[in-house]
Amino acid sequence: MSGFGGFLLRRAVGTVITLLAISVIVYVVFYVTPGDVAQITCGPRCSPEQVRQVAAQLHLGDPLYVRYWHFLQGLFAGQDFSTGTSVEHCAAPCLGQSYQTGQQVLDIILGKLPVSLSLVLGAMVLWLALGVGTGVLSAWRRGRVSERVLTAITLAGTATPVFVIGLVLMIVVCGELQLLPFPQYVAFTDDPEQWAWNLLLPWLSLALIEAATFARLTRAAMLETLAEDHVRTFRAYGVGERAIVGRHALRGAFAPVIALNANNVGSAVGGAVLTETLFGLPGIGQELVHAVKVVDLPVVVGMVLVIAFFVVLANAVADVLYAVADRRVVLA
């Protein structure tokens, strides 16, 4: 088992390095832009006095690596913000504060996080179940009419942008048919039933396109496995088609599905931004779009860091799961 422990350690170190590198890139991209960084950071409605404070806060007079060091220090050790009249302490992990609203970025994010997590995790359950199920079905029915129909549906699914599906669902289900009211977020802790009903359409809009991708991948991976020599062995030993598809081919599709799920967390987060905006769900995505529109830089940077953190973490978890699913990876 020491091989597996070593693998976990290497993976953990790699994850930390990746996160640090992302923080460098994010810092450079956002705080070393051409133009008056302090003015941009502070926002268009800042007074010259406030801009000077922000410039001091960002250590703009110092060399780049010192500035980054202060940024990092702020992240891990917390820092103080002076707003002219009072000094506010921002405890670690500190993502800074919005100069436009005076709120701490972490508080903003934590407030919005349950909505986004509800959306993404619920949709993930849906797309894995729908996608893998459809993929298994079409591999099982390969060469028949039902497979062709499934293939056509999944192809159309991959070609429909999230916001188009969402728009259509909303207009048809809530508008024309009036089967559901227009979604309004209800916290799980308040009313679990209403929480689920209100998230049903957002889940569907986000999950359908991902499900289609998963269906295609599952089908391809299973057919790939079905073409392999070991499947021929079990055929030559009288093992029935059901066991071959359900046991051997499906097992072969595990690892690729896990890998794709990790890859798609990034694109799903993008999809979540669209879904939140479309359905007016008060999540991180909607807040990010808002912050981008009003150029509230600290909020944008904080959110990018938090989202990248989650995506990198998801990738690392998927890597470990992949290694569990296919032990040969550890030896490589």
Binding site: R232, F234, V239, G240, A243, R247, F254, R328
Partner: protein
């Protein structure tokens, strides 16, 4: 009633007739080998016995009866009852033939449960029992291992165990030892022999290797282009073949006792390696693929290098031509220290498919060394073209093949093109890395003969790297035996073959299949003794 009755079997794929009117019988407890070169249709026959061509679009005609089941007429269910239970198959590549994701014991248990309705626990116990039967040490523990945790030989044993699980009447072995080293091959063939005598099951062996057939069966059926060429008792067919093709095939088989004749060897040393060492990996995983190897190559001679997989022979070859930098030690060319590639030291590669760029015409590939040397100026193109044409003709191809692409050539022809490309650099040494191991025996003999001719004509020094001891014997003046990166024996070829000093060399030589069934039986008995003790 015979165990297997094949009457007028034809199998067609598209416009190709892989098997064409083949008939044969196999009695209970008897052993028959289908012997043939690639494209002879022998593996297709093996598949047809279990009805494996169903649903693949192949057209199958004639009748096939196996253990009382008419394979053509049988329902899907009857066919499944035949497969594995009455007739079981062992495949060529044991790694890809097992599911990488499940424990070996579970895979055997799965097959057993399909045919017996045994409980999970009983099936697991049966799996351990058969694994133990085929000589897997500590079978109860190893049954929980996955295929990649087994060595090649152990995997083939596991596959044989799976075949034994339901006590079939017939074992079909499709090239069961082709992917294995020669010493492991001998063990697997011995195992098959023992199992056959103990269980009384019939054996149908499919092989390209006449020696493997001589070791294992009572009867052979020689196939060519999907038809039977000759069929009879193994001793008769191998000792006194009636058909010209059988004779041709047997003549082409390299013999381990055939000395090299007419060697143009000299005493002039062209290439000298001292203390070569090459490590791969770093830290705890580092290992030396080649460790402290020193040897010399003289003008006009052939130095044979033999070893099993993992012996480091390919790594050594790549260092000799400068494709790999040694970790320690050095190479002297014509007395001068040399690093990196050197036009005078060329290589012929093993795989005729990957050794030529599929996107460039063969003429362009051969012209590479000429162009790299800087052939320019007035009439350069004409000179290059003339030289390439000359080289193509020299290796037995036509000058008009210049503009063709690799996929238009057979494996043997591609190997000739590879030789022409090596010659284009006007080398003094050619390192041949398994130059004939991917070829059929008749093609093998032709390519070996071509190399010999070129050597005499051009005074070339050859380093001939191979796993096949018989091929190496034919061509070598001196021999180096490698094991785990080290040179275990190094000396004149005849001395090494006739009176090996090292136990490992003796073991290697004893494992080479003999073409004489009686000699094979005696050798098997000799191999069995120390193992039984």
């Amino acid at each position: 009633m015979s165990l297997v009755e094949v009457t007028d079997l034809t199998v067609g794929f598209g416009s190709l007739r892989a098997v064409d009117g083949l008939s044969f019988d196999l009695d209970k407890g008897a052993a028959l080998a289908l012997v043939g070169e690639s494209g002879s249709g022998k593996s297709t026959v093996a598949g047809a016995l279990l009805g494996l061509h169903r649903g693949t679009g192949a057209r199958v005609g004639g009748t096939v009866r196996v253990a009382g089941t008419d394979v053509q007429e049988a329902t899907e269910q009857e066919l499944r009852r035949l497969r594995g239970a009455k007739a079981a198959m062992v495949f060529q590549d044991p790694l890809s033939s097992l599911d990488p994701y499940y424990a070996i014991g579970d895979q055997i248990a799965e097959v057993y449960r399909v045919h017996t309705r045994a409980s999970r626990r009983a099936a697991r116990a049966r799996a351990v029992e058969v694994l133990d039967r085929v000589g897997i040490p500590d079978a109860a523990r190893r049954a929980r291992s996955r295929p990649h945790e087994f060595s090649g030989g152990m995997r083939q044993r596991a596959l044989i165990a799976m075949a034994l699980a339901c006590e079939p009447d017939l074992l079909i072995a499709d090239e069961p030892t082709t992917a294995l080293d020669v010493t492991v091959q001998a063990q697997i063939l011995d195992l098959l022999h023992t199992l056959r005598t103990e269980t009384g099951m019939g054996l149908l062996l499919v092989t390209h290797d006449v020696g493997v057939a001589a070791e294992s069966v009572d009867e052979v059926l020689v196939m060519r282009h999907g038809r039977a060429v000759e069929h009879g008792p193994v001793g008769t067919v191998l000792a006194a073949p009636r058909e010209p093709y059988t004779r041709e095939l047997l003549d082409a088989v390299p013999r381990v006792d055939a000395r090299r004749t007419g060697s143009p060897a000299t005493d002039e040393i062209v290439l000298e390696a001292t203390g070569l060492r090459r490590e791969f990996g770093r830290g705890k995983r580092a290992f030396a693929a080649v460790d402290d190897v020193s040897l010399t190559v003289r003008r006009g001679e052939t130095l044979g290098v033999v070893g099993e997989s993992g012996s480091g022979k390919t790594t050594l070859g790549r260092m000799l031509v400068g494709l790999l930098e040694p970790t320690a030690g050095g190479i002297r060319y014509a007395g001068e220290p040399h690093t990196g590639v050197n036009p005078a030291v060329q290589m012929v590669f093993q795989d005729p498919v990957s050794s030529l760029n599929p996107r460039r015409s063969v003429g362009e590939s051969i012209a590479d060394p000429l162009r790299a040397r800087g052939e320019r100026g007035e009439g350069a193109e004409e000179r290059i073209r003339a030289r390439v044409t000359e080289l193509l003709e020299r290796v037995g191809l036509e000058g008009a093949h210049h503009d063709r692409y690799p996929h238009e050539f057979s494996g043997g022809q591609r190997q000739r093109i590879g030789i022409a490309r090596a010659l284009a650099a006007d080398p003094r040494v050619i390192v041949c890395d398994e130059p004939v191991s991917a070829l059929d025996v008749t093609t093998q003999a032709q390519v070996v003969a071509l190399l010999g001719e070129l050597q005499r004509e051009l005074g070339l020094a050859l380093v001939f790297i191979a796993h096949d001891l018989a091929v190496v014997r034919q061509v070598s003046d001196r021999l180096a035996v490698m094991r785990r990166g080290r040179l275990v024996e190094y000396g004149p070829a005849d001395e090494v073959y006739d009176s090996p000093r090292e136990a490992y060399t003796r073991q290697l030589l004893a494992a080479v299949p003999a073409l004489d069934p009686e000699l094979a039986a005696r050798r098997r008995a000799a191999r069995g003794e120390p193992a039984a003790a």
